[in-house]
Amino acid sequence: MEETKLTAKNFSSGLPVKWCPGCGDFAILAMIQKTLAGMGLPLEKYAVISGIGCSSRFPYYVSTYGFHTLHGRALPVASGVKLSNPELAVWVVTGDGDGLSIGGNHMLHTIRRNIGLKIVLFNNRIYAMTKGQASPTTLQGSRTKTTPLGAIDYPFNPARFAVGLDCTFVARGIDNDIAGTSAILERAAKHNGTAFVEVLHKCVPFTDKEFDTLKDPATKEDLLLRVEHGKPLVFGKNRDKGIVFRNFRPEIISFKAGTVPENVAVYDETNSEMAYLVSGFTQPEFPVPLGVLKAVRKPSYEELYYDQVKAVGDTKGHELEALLAGPDAWEIK
């Protein structure tokens, strides 16, 4: 077939997108379509797989092979696809309820295996499709339809959950940061093994104010920590604050802009312990970290699987009768 370079447009199914006006999912859809185009594979080599929830409508809007599966079950379905055909680029779209509540068990085992799935978890801190119940990332005190007096559950921090499971690639983006989040997705696409990308976004009907301070030009730079491999952990509108570790405890120090003290930590995305500490930063004590929190190289599940098979030898050509007979058949004449 003739090689033509695909663009983001080629990855649109053309179906009307049915998210609410103002939903962050639109931006994430556009970013992922662009990322897929950038991977350079022919259209048929992609599979986009989702569970149930607003974000999980995603596959219908992408022109590749897609599968809108069951609530919480996108990951095992996607694992079956990837293991059947490791050449495919398999993307999983999930949400905080789908991926961390009903599908929580699959999330932790998928990450444990390091199977080559690109997981994008849309975190809006609410069950949106079922119209406004508390999710596993809903903050304590939040009033939702199921927590009219304020949520008492301690919430999950998805990125730290993934780092804690030794996920080989963990990143966090936010829907309005197109450049930063696109860069994350691009790296996730190239990662070998499980890539876990949390994307923060609000839900217009139910968590409309969520993350607003992280987006407001007046406040955001004081509240966000943009981590970058090899760069000091510096933040603030005037870039005059930094993170230091004393006895493994993170602290914020202030300094004169442009004079970063030597004790400000330099981020190392290959350092799991540092990733664990930094991914744990939450408001109001610490700025919210964005960027690639962790990236290490480890053989993927499918590599290990097919390497093992190769070691056994290719049995494709094996005679069926010999296989069925096994070592202890007898003949009756």
Binding site: H68, R73, G80, N85, H109, V309, T315, H318, I332
Partner: protein, 618 residues
């Protein structure tokens, strides 16, 4: 071959069949000795059927009644269809094994025991106040007490092995003795020992020495005054091996994938009594057999659904509790119209129930146990080797009709074994996929007018990209549709597609006359017991016939007309009447039931007694 120079006069009796039960501690190697014996009978040309029976605990306390493990084999001529009802010979390794099994023995049966195991401590654990070998309580049986420990130690006194190593060989002593009794060849076991102890030749030599010592002991001592010769079964020439039901399922799945020229993908989660399917497939992991041990039953079936979406032959194995967990995902496979083979090895339920015991109680769950209107195909295997044919048939239907198919096996079939004739490639069924049009003419939910199956396409096939999913699909185009008429149309199409599977069902074979007083209708694992009972009843002049149903849903189209040609219909089942309920609702008949829900298979004596009871009442 055996040494047959009779040094003394021994009476040789001819038998049609015999049932032998091996019993001992679950750590005693009973299953091993039993399966060695089974292989020897097979090579001698006998028909055979075996059934292990173990406690749910891996190792219950040694010598306790709860820790007794058993292995039963029936062998002989072609009349052997089940592992037998009451054993004619009990091989009891200790007092507990004797205590547990004695109630199943008819008077006059042979009991062979290791008399060295009847110590005061062991007798007490088994609940004996005095030694039954000495107190006359076994006077109605033919008891052969062999001091196996002493004799094994004697045979190995110069071997240099430790006392524990020596006693581990003792099972082969009794096996050798049995080989003499039934004139069976020692060769297979000798070869097996050599392979097993390849890295410890001294142990191989010791075990073989003990096997031969047992054989010679029987040959020379006068305790054994009889040998038996079993009639052989007239068998179709070919290559054979012994397979359990679970192994047969695994090999059928591999065979089906090879016939389709696809990978086999099996996502499974360990569960008794289905784990051997996953284990057997794991041994054959290769480029074209992908085995995925998932984190739970749900992930297991979902990974297989993913593989089906990816265009491979997908299967998953489980047992009752697992089938419950897979239920939602089965609905996804039904609405997405993807092929999938689900093997449900039934056990005693509900809940954890009787995990190692057999039952037929998931029939209604398999047929109806899903939310929404969710029809799929259900088949039931009838014997360990039939697990191969039925699973192969399931895979063939699954891909031809783009539907999930549930195969019902059970604990009895899964662990029972019988000789399996290895089929030639030319004897295997042909597989057909739904036609695939050119990309320009393709719609994901267009249908083959004959089967109503939609085309099967998968990631990697250029030009056929589509979105599958659990939301209702618009007819033909496959887009999401909430249209009321469309939902009803799609519901009917899915039902009609599964209903058309009746075209795959051959005319029902009737054993006996095509009309008469009584028709016994069975399904699944009761095949051997029913056929044996009906055969005996017919020999006794009773007007009874039987049929056995493999296609549970949809059902054979000729079933109603066959049943109506008999005055009465009897349905024996290992449940409270689930097939009976289906037959009643489909055919407005009132069949009689023989229902046993004890975690034990229905045996032929029970079926025969019921037949006699019904026909006496005529």
């Amino acid at each position: 071959m055996n040494n047959t120079n009779n040094s003394r006069k021994v009476n040789v009796s001819q038998l049609n069949s015999v049932t032998v039960r091996f019993a001992g501690d679950s750590g005693d190697g009973i299953q091993l000795v039993g399966s060695q014996f089974a292989n020897a009978t097979a090579i001698a040309g006998n028909e055979l059927s075996t059934q292990p029976d173990f406690p749910a605990e891996i190792r219950a306390p040694a010598g306790s009644l709860g820790g007794v493990s058993g292995f039963q084999i029936s062998f002989g001529d072609e009349s052997v269809l089940t592992p037998g009802n009451k054993p004619g010979v009990l091989l009891a390794m200790n007092p507990a094994a004797l205590a547990v099994n004695l109630k199943n023995l008819d008077k006059g049966s042979i009991i062979i025991t290791n008399s060295d195991a009847f110590t005061p401590a062991a007798l007490e654990k088994a609940g004996y106040a005095s030694n039954p070998l000495e107190d006359g309580s076994l006077a109605n049986y033919r008891v052969i007490g062999v001091p196996v420990n002493t004799l094994t130690e004697g045979a190995l006194k110069d071997s240099g092995l430790t006392g524990t190593q020596v006693l581990k060989c003792k099972n082969f002593y009794l096996l050798g003795l049995l080989y003499w009794m039934y004139g069976l060849p020692l060769e297979t076991t000798r070869a097996w020992i050599k392979t097993k102890f390849k890295k410890a030749p001294e142990l191989a030599a010791a075990n073989i020495k003990v096997l031969l010592a047992g054989f010679d002991y029987a040959e020379t001592t006068e305790i054994f005054d009889a040998r038996f010769q079993l009639k052989k079964s007239p068998v179709i020439p070919g290559k054979y091996r012994n397979l359990t039901g679970n192994e047969a399922v695994a090999y059928a799945l591999i065979t089906a994938a090879k016939l389709l020229k696809k990978k086999l993908f099996c996502g499974s989660y360990p569960i008794t009594p289905a784990s051997e399917i996953l284990q057997t497939l794991s041994k054959h992991r290769a480029t074209d057999v992908v085995v995925f041990q998932a984190e739970d039953e749900i992930a297991a079936i979902c990974s297989s659904i993913g593989a089906a979406f990816a265009g491979e032959l997908a299967a998953t194995g489980t047992s009752g509790p697992g089938l419950s967990l897979k239920t939602e995902a089965l609905g996804l496979a039904v609405i997405a119209e993807l092929p999938l083979v689900v093997i449900n090895v039934q056990r005693g339920g509900p809940s954890t129930g009787l995990p190692t015991k057999t039952e037929q109680s998931d029939l209604l769950q398999a047929v109806y146990g899903r939310h929404g209107e969710c029809p799929l195909v259900v088949l039931a295997a009838t014997s360990p080797s039939d697990c191969f044919n039925t699973t192969l048939e399931a895979a063939r239907i699954a891909v031809k009709y783009m539907t999930p198919v549930i195969v019902l096996s059970n604990s009895y079939l899964s662990s029972g074994s019988e000789p399996f004739r290895i089929p030639k490639l030319s004897e295997l069924p042909k597989f057909h996929l739904p036609p695939l049009p050119e990309p320009a003419d393709y719609k994901p939910f267009m249908r083959d007018p004959d089967t109503l199956a939609r085309p099967w396409t998968w990631p990697g096939l250029a030009g056929y990209e589509y979105r599958a999913g659990g939301l209702e699909k618009a007819d033909i185009t496959g887009g999401v549709s909430y249209d009321p008429e469309n939902h009803e149309r799609m519901t009917k199409l899915r039902a009609e597609k599964v209903a058309r599977v009746v075209r795959e069902i051959p005319p029902t074979k009737i054993y006996g006359q095509a009309e008469g007083d009584l028709l016994v209708v069975g399904w699944g694992s009761t095949y051997g017991a029913i056929k044996t009972a009906v055969s005996e009843a017919r020999k006794a002049g009773l007007n009874v016939s039987s049929i056995h149903i493999r296609h549970i849903f949809p059902m054979p189209p000729d079933l109603g007309s066959i049943m109506r040609r008999f005055r009465k219909v009897l349905v024996p089942e290992e449940n409270s009447g689930q097939l009976r309920l289906l037959l009643r609702s489909a055919h407005m008949l009132e069949p009689l039931g023989l229902n046993k829900v004890q975690g034990q298979p229905i045996n032929s004596d029970e079926v025969l007694a019921k037949i006699q009871e019904i026909l006496r009442g005529n």
